[in-house]
Symmetry: C2
Subunit: 146 residues, 2 copies
């Protein structure tokens, strides 16, 4: 039963079905009434996926890591480089967020309350020239962490 697997892994039922749909989880056996029945390997695999997601890996990266994990005799150089890539991404995200944090702080500290016309927050937002640090480019990101 999918609900039990969901409870044990802290993953939503729909998410499990979604992982199956995109081929990240293998199709389990079904009961006569067409309901999914899982075993220990499914639990292990899903735990791997969830943990990797918590560490910020993309589903694509996880797919690669699972392929590796399925074949214990291969070299682990690939796993290592995927992890390093992830590490680098996290590092640069932190750096960007810290620049951002400084800028937001400056913005807030300078606001003395009052009318919008004198609001430092609005003023800074309207003019990037008022920023000290280079807080960089659009924050578009699909793989980030709350």
């Amino acid at each position: 039963m999918i609900g039990q697997l969901a409870r044990r892994t802290g993953c939503k039922v729909q998410t499990i079905r979604y992982y199956e749909q995109i081929g990240l989880m293998p199709e389990p056996v079904r009961t006569e009434g067409n309901q999914r029945r899982y075993g220990a390997p499914h639990l292990k695999r899903l735990a791997f996926v969830r943990h990797s997601r918590e560490l910020g890996f993309s589903l694509e990266a996880i797919r690669e890591l699972l392929d590796l994990a399925d074949d214990p005799d291969r070299s682990c150089a690939t796993a290592d480089s995927i992890a390093r890539r992830q590490f680098d991404q996290v590092e640069s995200r932190i750096a960007r967020l810290q620049a951002l944090k400084r800028e937001l702080k400056r913005m807030i500290v300078q606001c003395r309350g009052g009318r919008v016309a004198e609001c430092r927050v609005i003023e800074v937002l309207a003019d990037h020239g008022l920023c000290v640090s280079d807080h960089g480019n659009p924050p578009v990101d699909k793989l980030a962490v709350s």
Copy 2:
């Protein structure tokens, strides 16, 4: 012409049209041939939007901020609280990413190369129990920074 506005703000043409579609940018006048023509206020507004996005504000928050900016006599308390909320979010994202970074580092450092069977990276991913810090819950996020 939309291309010029795009170049001046570092924003893609489609993005400008998208902002218009969702009501973030006002509809500009059109030439006889149905092409958009913009003026200084559009440039100002779009610059505000882009800068706010760079600082990680959601389009919803930007909508509120624009409403405020349009009415200089109102109190800036709302702008201030939106900025503070954003600041708090950035702070907690940094904290989460730092826990994550520590965990990734540990994982990578312990990997001595060799076969997948002995790979520390794979092993840690398979078992959250091997983590020291609590790197928290799913990294689902729509508003993060690259």
